[in-house]
C-alpha cells in the first residue's frame, strides 16, 4: 500500500513537469499533501499521539489546505496569468524529470545497505531534485515557491523513511518554520507583484557587480 502511495507521488512529479496552468500546480501540491497524510497514517503507527496529531496537522491542514489556498489567493490578488511559462518546452521537462528519476534509482541502488527502504529514498531524492529543477526552469516567482514546496515534500518523505524520530519541540519548530517561511515568501511575492509590473525573475537581476 505504501508503495502505491509513493509511486503515485512520483507520478505527480511527472504530471507537474507537463502541467501548463498554475492552478494545476496548486492542485498537485494539495494532492501530494493528501498522499503524505495517508503515508503517515500507514507508516507511523508506533509514535505517540501528540506527535501524530502534529504531523497530521502539518500534512492535511497545512500542506493540502492552507498553502494551496494561500497560493491561489496570491495568484488572484496579483492577477498572475495562468500559464506557467517555463523556459523549456514541456516535452524536454518531462525528459529531464525522467532522467532525474533514473539517476536517483541508480544512485540509491549503489548504496550497500540491506535494511534500507529504497523506494523512500528514490522518491525523496527525485522530489528534491525535481523541485530544484522547477526553480531553475520556471520564469515566474510563484513557481519558485512551488518548487520549494515540492522540495519540502520530498524531505518529508525522507524523514518518513526513518520513522521521524524527532522530539516534540523540534517538530513544532519545524512546522512553524516552514509555515512562516511560506508566509514570508508569499508576502514578498505580493510585494514583488505590487512593485513590478510582471512577476518574473527577470526583474530580479539588478544586484550585481
Amino acid at each position: 500500500m505504501i508503495n502505491v502511495l509513493l509511486i503515485t507521488f512520483l507520478i505527480t512529479l511527472f504530471f507537474v513537469a507537463i502541467a501548463n496552468r498554475l492552478l494545476t500546480y496548486i492542485k498537485v501540491l494539495a494532492f501530494q499533501g493528501v498522499l503524505l497524510f495517508t503515508a503517515v497514517f500507514i507508516q507511523l503507527n508506533e509514535i505517540n499521539t501528540v506527535n501524530l496529531i502534529l504531523i497530521l496537522m502539518e500534512t492535511i491542514i497545512f500542506k493540502s489546505l492552507a498553502v494551496p489556498l494561500f497560493l491561489a489567493y496570491i495568484i488572484k490578488h496579483n492577477k498572475i496569468s495562468r500559464e506557467a511559462e517555463p523556459y523549456l518546452p514541456n516535452f524536454i521537462s518531462l525528459i529531464i524529470v525522467t532522467m532525474i528519476c533514473v539517476v536517483s534509482i541508480l544512485l540509491v541502488n549503489s548504496i550497500k545497505d540491506q535494511e534500507l527502504d529504497k523506494i523512500f529514498f528514490v522518491v525523496a531524492l527525485s522530489a528534491l531534485f525535481t523541485g530544484l529543477y522547477f526553480i531553475i526552469s520556471r520564469r515566474k516567482i510563484i513557481t519558485h515557491v512551488m518548487g520549494y514546496l515540492i522540495i519540502e515534500n520530498g524531505i518529508f518523505v525522507l524523514s518518513l523513511a526513518l520513522g521521524s524520530e524527532m522530539t516534540l519541540l523540534v517538530n513544532i519548530g519545524i512546522i512553524l518554520d516552514i509555515f512562516v517561511s511560506v508566509l514570508v515568501l508569499g508576502i514578498f511575492t505580493n510585494r514583488i507583484g505590487d512593485t513590478f509590473e510582471a512577476m518574473s525573475v527577470d526583474n530580479l537581476s539588478n544586484l550585481k557587480d
Binding site: 548504496i111 545497505d113 528534491l128 530544484l132 526553480i135 516567482i141 519558485h144 520549494y148 522540495i151 519540502e152 524531505i155 525522507l158 524523514s159 526513518l162 520513522g163 524520530e165 524527532m166 522530539t167 519541540l169 523540534v170 519548530g173 519545524i174 512553524l176 518554520d177 512562516v180 517561511s181 514570508v184 515568501l185 514578498f188 510585494r191 514583488i192 512593485t195 513590478f196 526583474n203 530580479l204 539588478n206 544586484l207 557587480d209
Partner: protein, 475 residues
Amino acid sequence: MFGYYLITILLLGTGSLINRNKQIRILLLLLFLSTQTAVAFYGFIHLNTSELDGNFYYDPLGVLFLFVLTILSYTTIFHSYLYLQNRKDSSRNQSIYFAALIILIAAMTCVYLAATIGIMWVVIEATTLSVAVLIYHERTHLTLEATWKYVFICSIGITFAFVGIVFLSKALQEANSVNLSFSDIPGHLQNVNTFWLKLAFIFLVVGFSTKMGLFPMQTIAVDAHTVAPPPISAFISTTLMNVGFIAIFRTYSIMSHTSILPWMNQILLWCGFLSIFVSAVYIIKVNHLKRMFAYSSLEHMGLAAIGLASGGIGYFAAILHMVLHSFVKASIFYQIDQIHRVFKTYIISKTGGYFSKNLAGALVMLLVFVSITAIPPSGMFVSELLIFLSLFESQHLIFFVLILILLTMIMWALGKNIFSMLFLPSDEPAGNVVKINPWESSTQFFLLAAAIYLGLNPPAVFVQLINDSIMLLPK
C-alpha cells in the same frame, strides 16, 4: 533562567512592535540590553550546565560568541538609533526595525546555546526570517530583490541542512540511538556506516554555508550586505556568520572522531580555498563599498574554514579569527554609515578626500585597513599567522602559496579603494558636507582597540574559553 530570558525577550519584542513612543522605545532597548548582558554573564558563571530539559547548554564556545554578540548588540543598537534618526524614519518603521532586531539577537543567542542539532536548525531558520525584515527596511526595489533572494536561498539551504540531519539520524539509528544532542552524538558514531556520515556532512555544510557566507552559497550574503542598513550589515557580517561557523564547527566536532576526519578536512579546505578565490576575483573589480567588505568577509570565512581544516593550532586560530573578525568588521560597517551620510553614495569612485570631511571617521578607516588586512599590530595578524602555521604543518604547501598570493591581491584591492576614498581630492568643497559628530566614531575605535588587545595580549580567561571549546577535537 533561559526560559525567563526567552519570555522577557518575547515581551520586549512585542512591546517594541506596538510601542510608538520615543522614550518608551529607548527604555525597552535598555531593558533588552540589560537582559542580554545578564544572560551572557549567567552563562559564563554557569559554564557547562544545561537549561530547559537539556535543550540549551552553556558550552564555552557558545558563551564566547554570546559575549561577542552582547558587546556588538550595544554598538549595533546605538548605531541603528543614529541611522534611523538620520533617515527620519516613521515611528512605525522604527518599531518594526527594533522589534525584528531584538528577535534576531535572541535567535542568535539561542543558536549559540542550542544543545541539540534539531533545536539549532529551528532557531537558525528563525534568524533568517527576522533578519529578512531588517534587510527589507529601506523598502526599495533593490532591497526587495535582495530580501527575496536571501529568504528563498536561505530557506533552501536550511532545507538541505535538514536533509543532513535526517542522514545523521539514519546513521545514529544504526547505533540504536535517537538522541540528537551534541554531547551524546560522538559516542554513538564509532561503528556506523561512513557513507551516511559523509552524506550528512556534505548536506549540513552546504546548508549552513548560507549562514556563514562560505562558498558554495556565498552570493546571497553578499547581496544582503549590499542593501541592508549598515548596522544590520555589521550583524550579517559578524554575529550571523558566527552562527554559520558555530553550526559547521559543531557538525565538524561531532564527527571528528570517526574515520571520515581526513575527508572532512579536504571538503573544508576546498570550501575555504574557493571562498578566498571567489573573493579575490570579485574584490578586484568591485566598486561598491559594502560589497567590497562583503567579499572581504567571504575571504575571512574562508580563512576560518581553512584553520578548521588544518587542525592542530588551526582550531584555536579559527575561533580567535572569528572573534577578532567580528569586532573589526562590525566597526567597518558602522563607519560605512557615516561615509554614506557624508558622500550620499556607496560607490567608491564617487568618493574622495574623506580626511578633510570627517577626520575621526577617516582615522577609523585607516585603522580598519591595517586591521582587516592583518598588518601588525592588528590582532588578526596573530590569528592569520596561526592559521598559516597550521596550514604549513599539515603539509598543504600548494594551498599555502596560492592563498598567500590571493591574500596579496585582496590586500591590494582593499588598499587601492580605501586610500582613494581617503586621500584622492574630490570635486565637492569641504564646506557644504554633513558634519559628523566625532563621538559617533568612539564605538568603532573601541572595537578596533579590543580586536588589537585580544589578538596581541589575550586575557587568560579568553584563551581558556577557546581552549575549552576545542578540547574535544582530535589533537
